[in-house]
Symmetry: C2
Subunit: 358 residues, 2 copies
C-alpha cells in the first residue's frame, strides 16, 4: 500500500502560565526549549522529519505569535503560518486548518498535533503516525492517539478503548467505547488497572473530507462559519464569533467513525515544571539541568533539583533538594518540585499588580 501524502497541522496558539517565568505572555511554552535544546514547536516539527516535509506543515497560531513561529521554524514557508484572529480553542482551529489543507491538496490526510508535547522515541511515534494515516485514508476514520497510562493521572481525559478493529503494521486499531472526563483518583486507579483506558493525547489524524463532514454534522456553527468565509466574509469577522470548544468535545465524542491508536512509549504534555525531571536524565550530582548552551549549573551537596537558565548565566545550588530553580529574563522562581503547579498563583497575583513580569 502506498503511503498517503501526509499534511501536518501544528496547533501553537496556547498561552499557558505554568512555565512562568520562562513562559511569558509574549512567549508561551511552545517556544521554550524545555526539552531537546530547541523550542518545543521545533521539536514537534522535527519529529515529523521524513514523513511530512516543511511544505506540508501548517502552523496555526495567534497573530501576536507569528514572528515567534518564524524564528523557531526558519524552514517553514511563511504562507504556512495561519494566524487565528482570536483564540477559540481547538475545534475552530481544526476547522481553519482543514480549510487551508483543502486549498492545497484534494482530500489529503492530515495529522493534527499540539506544539508542546514531548514524545519519544521518534521512530515509535512515526510508526504510529504512519498506521494512523493508513487507517484514516483506508477507513475514512477520525483517528485519535490514546496514551497508555503509567500512573493514575487525574489531570487528563480518558478514552475507553473498544474492540480491536484492525492492525496496521504492528499497531492495533481500536474502536472507541467512550470518552471519560478527568476522573477522581479512585476511578483513575481503576482505569490504570483495566488496561482498556488511555489518556486523550489531543493528537488526531483524518482526511480533510472526514473532519469537514464531521464538523458539519456535529459542530454546524463552526462549519457554517467557514462556509461564510468561503463565500467571501472576512475571517477576522467570522472567527471570533465561533464557539470556543475543544475538537474532542465538539466532534470526536459524537462521531461514529472514531478509532484509537495507542501510544505505549514516552509521552508528556509537560504540564508544569514538575514534568521536566521525568523527561531529563540526572546529571552526576543527581540534578536536572535544563540549560541554554552558555548557561551553567553548579551544585554543592544538592540533588533532585531542576535548574533552568537561558543565557550566559549560572545557577548555584548549595545544600538544597528537589527544588525547581528557574532564571528567565527579569525573574527568578524557586519552589519545591511538588509545588510546581502553584506557580500559577504567582502569575495570578502578578496579573493584578505586576504586569511587567508577565
Amino acid at each position: 500500500m502506498t503511503r498517503p501524502e501526509l499534511y501536518a497541522v501544528v496547533m501553537a496558539g496556547g498561552s499557558g502560565t505554568r512555565f512562568w517565568p520562562a513562559s511569558r505572555r509574549a512567549r508561551p511554552k511552545q517556544f521554550l526549549p524545555v526539552w531537546g535544546g530547541r523550542p518545543m514547536i521545533a521539536e514537534t516539527c522535527a519529529r515529523l522529519a521524513g514523513l511530512v516535509p516543511w511544505e506540508r506543515i501548517l502552523v496555526v497560531t495567534a497573530e501576536s505569535q507569528t514572528e515567534l513561529v518564524r524564528a523557531a521554524l526558519p524552514e517553514l514557508p511563511r504562507a504556512n503560518i495561519l494566524a487565528e484572529p482570536a483564540a477559540r480553542n481547538t475545534a475552530p482551529c481544526v476547522a481553519f486548518a482543514a480549510e487551508e489543507v483543502a486549498k492545497r491538496a484534494r482530500d489529503a490526510v492530515q495529522v493534527v498535533l499540539p506544539s508542546d508535547h514531548v514524545i519519544h522515541p521518534t521512530s515509535a511515534f512515526q510508526a504510529t503516525l504512519v498506521a494512523a494515516a493508513e487507517e484514516a485514508a483506508a477507513a475514512d476514520a477520525l483517528v485519535i492517539f490514546g496514551v497508555k497510562p503509567d500512573h493514575p493521572a487525574t489531570g487528563y481525559g480518558y478514552i475507553e478503548a473498544g474492540a480491536q478493529t484492525e492492525k496496521r503494521g504492528a499497531i492495533p486499531v481500536h474502536a472507541v467505547a467512550r470518552f471519560v472526563e478527568k476522573p477522581p483518583r479512585a476511578r483513575a486507579e481503576e482505569f490504570l488497572a483495566s488496561g482498556r483506558h488511555f489518556w486523550n493525547s489531543g493528537m488526531f489524524v483524518w482526511r480533510t473530507s472526514a473532519i469537514q463532514a464531521a464538523l458539519r454534522a456535529h459542530a454546524p456553527q463552526i462549519a457554517q462559519g467557514f462556509a461564510r468565509v468561503r463565500a467571501g466574509e472576512a475571517l477576522a469577522r467570522v472567527y471570533p464569533e465561533l464557539p470556543s470548544v475543544a475538537i474532542d468535545v465538539a466532534v470526536l465524542e459524537k462521531a461514529a467513525n472514531v478509532r484509537m491508536l495507542p501510544i505505549d512509549y514516552s509521552w508528556s504534555d509537560v504540564g508544569s515544571w514538575a514534568a521536566l525531571p521525568e523527561l531529563h536524565p540526572r546529571d552526576p550530582d543527581g540534578n536536572f539541568p535544563v540549560l541554554a548552551q552558555d548557561a551553567r549549573l553548579i551544585a554543592e551537596d544538592s540533588s533532585g533539583c531542576l535548574a533552568y537558565a537561558e543565557g550566559d548565566e549560572i545557577i548555584a545550588l548549595v545544600g538544597v533538594k528537589d527544588l525547581v530553580v528557574v532564571r528567565a529574563g527579569n525573574a527568578t522562581l524557586v519552589c519545591p518540585r511538588e509545588r510546581a503547579q502553584d506557580v500559577k498563583r504567582i502569575v495570578e497575583r502578578l496579573a493584578r499588580d505586576g504586569e511587567r513580569y508577565l
Copy 2:
C-alpha cells in the same frame, strides 16, 4: 573639654567571597547595599556624619577599587582615597593611613574603621566614638572597641576586659587583660557567661603619634618601611615588602596603653548571607527582602527567606522556607540560610573552572 578634631580612616581593601554572587572580585562586599539601601562603605561614612566631615575621612583601598570608592562616596575628596599598592592586611594599612593623617594635621586623633560593618543605632555608636576620641586624646591610649557578645560566637577573637580605668560620658573605659584567639564552642560559652569578654571588632581610635610610636616599638619592619617612603622611596616598591599582618596581632596585643570601650548595641560584621536576616525586619510574609529600588519579591506560602536582587527583577518564591535566594548579575544562588557559609565552596570551584562568574 573641647572635642579633638577627629579623622577617620576607612579600610576598604577587602575582597571576600562570602557574598557571592553579589560580591565579585571586581566588587567586594563593602560596595554592596546589603543594609540600609546604600553600599556598606557609604553607610559606614554616613555613620560619622556630624563628627567627621568628608574632608577628614580617608579611605584606604586597592588600586583596582578606587573607582568603586568614588562612585560609592561622591562627596569624598579624591585626594582622600589612598590606594594600597598591594593587600597586606591591616597593620600596613593603618601605618599608611597614619602617615597620611600626619601630613594633614599635627597629631590628630583618628578612628580606624572597617568599611563593611553594620552598627546601630548611630547615636550610640557616635557616643562611643566621642568617648574613645577623648580617651585617646587625654590618655594617649590605643583604644579598641569590644562588642558585648549576645551569643557564644566561635568566629571572632575575644578581648578580656580588665579593670575599669575611667568613664567618658556614660561610657566605661577598660584596661585590656588579654586578647584571646577564636575559641572553641565551650570556651565561647564561658566567655559569654563571664560578662568580661568582648568580641574584637577591628575598630580602633588613637592619636597619630601613639599608633606611630607603637608601630616603631612592636612592628619595626612596618615603621621602617614608611621611614624609607618618607626618605623618598616609592610606596609601590616598599609596600609589597611589608609583612602582611593584622594591626591587633602586630601592635595591640603587645602594647601596654590599650583601652577597650564596649559596644553593647547592635553590631555585625555581616560575615555571610546568613547574617542579613538578623539585621532586616521581616516583611508581612515573614521573609527578608534585600532589594534594589526596582526589584521585587513575591512570596506564596514561603517564609524565613532572604531574597536579594539588584535591578528591575523579581524573585518569586513558592512553598519554601529559610532559604537564601540571591540574584546578582549573571548568577543566581539558592541555599538554606544555615548553609550560607558554604557559598565559599562554590567560589572555590569557580576559581578553578568558572572565572567568568567571579
